[in-house]
Structures are given as C-alpha cells and as structure tokens.
Symmetry: C2
Subunit: 333 residues, 2 copies
DNA sequence: CTGTTAGCGCCTTCAT
DNA sequence: ATGAAGGCGCTAACAG
C-alpha cells in the first residue's frame, strides 16, 4: 500500500506548528498588517523549520496577477533574438517578473499555440515578435485584452506598442552602400512575411529607384526556414547574369551564404560582395570580415520590457519606439 | 452582438450560458465522464461564444501538477546554451510542457533565487547547468525533492541525473593536439568553478604529463564574467616567455581572444595558435578558421529533456549520459 | 493583535 | 447523465 504523501508544506502546516491561526501566519509571512513580534518570530521559525515555500499558483489565483510575462520570438538560436531576450530578461527579473519563453520557429500555428498557453497561464503581459506583418495572431492577442508590446517586428495595426528598428532605412542604407561600391545587380535575400522584410524591401527598392536603376524581381527572394540556400545560391549563380552583390536579411543568413559562396569557389568581395544585418559579435572576425548593419538588439529588449512594465503598472498609452540602424563597413563589400 | 466581458471568463459563466451545472461544463470541456452529446454541444458552443480560456493556475492547484519545467543556464547569449535550450524546448513543448527560463549569469545568488522562484511556481521539474561543481544550490535542489537533471555541467553528487560531455577528454585531446603541433607553452584560459572547468583542466594536465612536460601554474587562468581579457592577454604576452598556444574554454572566449590577439599584432597561428571548444556555427568561417572541439549541444538539450520527462512520468532511476567530444582541426592551430 | 470565513477557478467524489 | 459540495493553498475582510 503506497501512502499518498502530501508533496508540499502549506501555510496550514506552518500555522499549526507555530500554534497560530492561518491568517496570522499569512500576515507574518508577508509582513502585512500588525503582528506581534514574538508571534512573527514563531511563524518564521516554523516556516524555516518546515522548509515552507509559498505556492504562487494559489497566491496568483487570489491576486488575479501572476507576475509572469510571456515572450514569443522566432528562435533563440538566432543570436539576434538571444540578445533581445537577454535584454528583456534583465529588466523583467529585476522587477520581480518571471519570463516564459516560446519559440515560434516562424510557424504561425506554433505562435498561436504559444499565445493560447500564455493566456491559460494568465501571464500579466506578453512581449512578442510576430511572424507576419498582417497577423491574425496579433488580432487574437488584441482581442484577448492582455497587455503586450511587439519587439523587432511590428504589424499593420497603428495603435499597438512596439520597439523596432527603422527597417526602411536598413534596406535603404544597405543598398545605397552597395550601389556606391559600384554594384548594379544586387541580390536581396529577404526574410518572409514579417514587417522587417516588408520595410527593408521597400528601402531596397527606394535606393535602387533613386539611383535610377530598374528593380529586377528575379533578384528578390524570400528565405523561409526550410529554404535550401545552397541550391538557391548555386542556381542563381549559374545564370549568365549573376549578381555581383548579395544583401542578406540578417547575419545568420549571411553566414550561411558565405559558406555556400566559398564552396562555389567565389571570392568575397571580388566575385561577389556580401552584406549582412544585425552586427553579431562574430561578424567582425569572419573571413572576410562582414559588412553589416548594426541594430541595438539588447537595448531593444530592455526597452520593450520597460514599456510593458509601464503598461502593466501604470496602464499607460501605447508607446512606439524606432531604433536607428547604423552601417558598419568592413571587408566583405 | 457585443459581449461585455469581465476580466476573465470562468467556467461558471460558461455553465450559466449553457444552462448546465459547473460540473457538467467541466466534464464537457475536458471530454471526461459521460455527457449527453447535446449537452456537450451546448457547453462547447457557450465556451466558444464567450471566448473561454481555462485558468491553468486553478487547474494546477487542483491537480498538483503544473506541466511547467524550469531551465537554469548561464546565459542564452552564449550560443552553446542557446542550442542546449533549443533542444530542451523542442522536446518539452512537444510533450505539452511549458518552459520557464532563467539565466544565472554565473552568479550563485541569482541561481539560488531562480531555484526559489521555480519552487514557488511549483514547476514539475528542473533542467539545470549549475555554476559550481561543489554546489550548495544543487544540494538545496535535492532537498527540495523536485525532479531535475543537470545539463552540460555536473556536480560531485554521484546519484543525480545528468547529461554532459566527457570534459576530461575535451581537455586531453585539445592539449594533445597542441602538443602534437609542437607547442610546449600552452596557455589554458579556463572557466570558473564548474565541472567542465575542473575536468578539462585535469585532461590538460594529464596530456602534458603523459608527454613528459612540466605543468606551469602560471599558464592556467580562470576566466570570470568580469575578467578583462584584453588586459590579461596583453600582460601575459608582454612577458619574455610568452605562450605559443592558447587553449580556450569555449569558442565565445576564443572569439574574444582572437580579437585581442589581433589587436596586439600577433599572427594566428604563427605567433600564437588558438584552440576553442563547442564548434559554434561561425567558427568555421572565422579568420583564421578556428580549430575547436565539437560537442553535441542541441542533442544534449534534447536528451536532458527526455530524461526529465522520464523522471516525471515514470519515476525512473537517475540517468547519466556522457557525450563524446570530437576534435575539429582547422587553421588556427 | 488574532482567528474565522469566504472566496479565487477548477476538478472530483457523491448522491440523485 | 447531472448538480451540489468540498477542497487545492492562499489572502482579505470581518469579527472578536
């Protein structure tokens, strides 16, 4: 016969051992209201002796607040998001909040699932990098009434809080740099469906247009997580009119592209120039060092978290913040 | 038809709208017991209409299980841990578990705090990369009776579950490789206090000893998060008998070292060889490409999560698994 | 100052 | 097949 042992010490146990009522124990434990010093001592001692750990589920049930924040990003495998999450975490934990992390992996179904679970968990707020610019999931989130702030990516809604980079400018200054370097056929390996992809593409086009060049749709690709970069690149470079430069959506993609390009026996930047984006730590030491566009990753996370805290605690108006990107010229272009 | 909603719809609301009792609503919602098909339909419809989202806090209170797992690592900023976490997440979410992430940043106090909060949150289990080999926090965790598995780092306890690399071997094959390349003065930039540091150091010494060389304590350093690498390196290299090779605890450190070494005007590997560990994605493309030691990061996470699930669901015995490291020779040595 | 009581939202006997 | 009632652990009135 297995005896079902009570798995956790409760406040009841503490109260009993201290020889006081349950409410008194609660008061003593939480420094609330008036408790006789001696009583408090007894309670704390009992708690100590029993190894009492308050159950925050029960507490949250009562309070209606959980002190938890959900974070949904693409994947922490991308150092860009790792940095964003790190910034978020810094602020959140400093303010007594716990962080629940979800990686959507660019799959809207997983994103939706994450949202549902976060609602079930009754998180107080959500920080979110939505997969799509026109996002059903963000609509759903708005309906849910949970305070949230978008990070790194925005959506078409005008009245949401977000912290993003000026992606139009990213696309523009990157392309301008390549044009300046004499490139005319610039391959744009863009991301997929998200706001950054959308606005960077517009920046790319704008730069081309202003320089008086035609926009060649065949030079614009959307990379999905399952895209076979190797195949794509070698196809593109087997055509007669191969591009002389590649503008990659992010450094992670640029890294992959560099591998493939090298395998193809092409020299960087002589045969093909490569431009990344994010200015990840290692890009400075790549061979050749990667020209890229710096975006304040960590600070974006910090600010997003701060804004969310504002939303949670003061019930402020939506806040929008746009970080300025900065071109970092190195050897790859 | 606008529905006025209070802060959260409860099962009570659903029951009322469906015109049934709470218990029946619960049964219908959870496909439990016998419910008349027509009743079920009404309940589900009501839930749908109200946008009901079950409160998992309340549910967990009843069940005594939360379906949540806590993860404590050094920092997700290190791609090594990002990969580990990613592996963990893959398995956990696939099994209906939610992941709560904490970064200890090598600070035992933060680590302890994380442990406390996870207990308060009543997580079902914990996956944990402890900062110290002789860890008070792991003792505390053991006392807490929460099932856990250590990942990447172990402690002196023999009867805990863990998934680690064979760190003695890491230290050994790395050092042997450098010796083979003709190096005699090998600087070991080790980590701090954790099991990997301990065993790798033993491997390093063992290799030196077996080759018949003396162990020079002045060539062994422990890098802490706040160590000024630049200063350290330039001091070391300003002495007459400078090392000819540097064995770095991990690729992230190796990256920093490469930057500093280059600033000092030294050529790699001619003036100084550099060896990393972890085989991060970008190391292949560094200038020069980094010789490193491959460790199955993602798989370590996957396995740790699987083992934890085993512990949670079948209440199995502790499981220990040690991954084989593999030397990856490139240009930097 | 302290104990009793009524929930927070949900699930589960136990009757009906 | 269904509803009433008790309880998970905790906090907040409300009485003493």
């Amino acid at each position: 016969m297995v005896v079902e042992r009570k798995s956790h010490i409760t406040i009841k146990d503490v109260a009993k051992l201290a020889g006081v009522g349950i409410a008194t124990a609660s008061r003593a434990l939480n420094n609330r209201g008036d408790v006789h010093p001696e009583t408090r001592r007894k309670v704390l001692e009992a708690a100590q002796k029993l190894g009492y750990v308050p159950n925050s589920l029960a507490r949250s049930l009562v309070y209606g607040k959980t002190k938890k924040v959900g974070v949904i990003i693409t994947t922490v495998l991308n150092p860009f998001y790792a940095a964003v999450v790190s910034g978020i975490e810094r602020v959140l934990t400093a303010n007594g909040y716990t962080l629940i992390l979800y990686n959507s992996n660019e799959d809207p179904r997983k994103e939706r699932e994450a949202l549902l679970i976060l609602r079930q968990q009754r998180v107080d707020g959500i920080i979110f990098a939505p997969i799509e610019y026109e996002s059903q999931n963000v609509k759903y989130l708005i309906d849910s009434k949970i305070p949230f702030v978008l990070v790194a990516r925005r959506t078409l809604e005008e009245d949401t809080s977000f912290v993003i980079a000026d992606d139009f400018k990213v696309g523009k200054i990157g392309t301008e740099h390549l044009i300046e370097k004499g490139h005319r056929r610039i391959l744009f390996l863009n991301s997929w469906k998200n706001s950054s992809a959308k606005f960077r593409l517009e920046g790319y086009k704008s730069a081309l247009r202003e320089a008086g060049f035609l926009i060649n749709p065949k030079l614009i690709y959307s990379i999905k997580p399952d895209t076979d970069l190797k195949k794509l690149i070698s196809e593109i470079f087997s055509s007669k009119s191969r591009p002389t430069a590649i503008f990659c959506f992010c450094d992670s993609i640029a890294l992959e592209v560099m591998k493939v390009v090298k395998e193809e026996g092409l020299k960087i930047p002589d045969d093909v120039a490569i431009l990344g984006c994010d200015n990840l730590d290692y890009t400075e030491l790549l061979n050749p060092s990667l020209t890229t566009i710096d975006i304040s990753k960590f600070d974006m996370g910090v600010l997003a978290a701060r804004i969310l805290l504002g939303l949670l605690e003061d019930n402020k108006e939506p806040v929008r913040y746009i970080f300025e990107p900065k071109l970092v010229i190195r050897e790859s272009t």
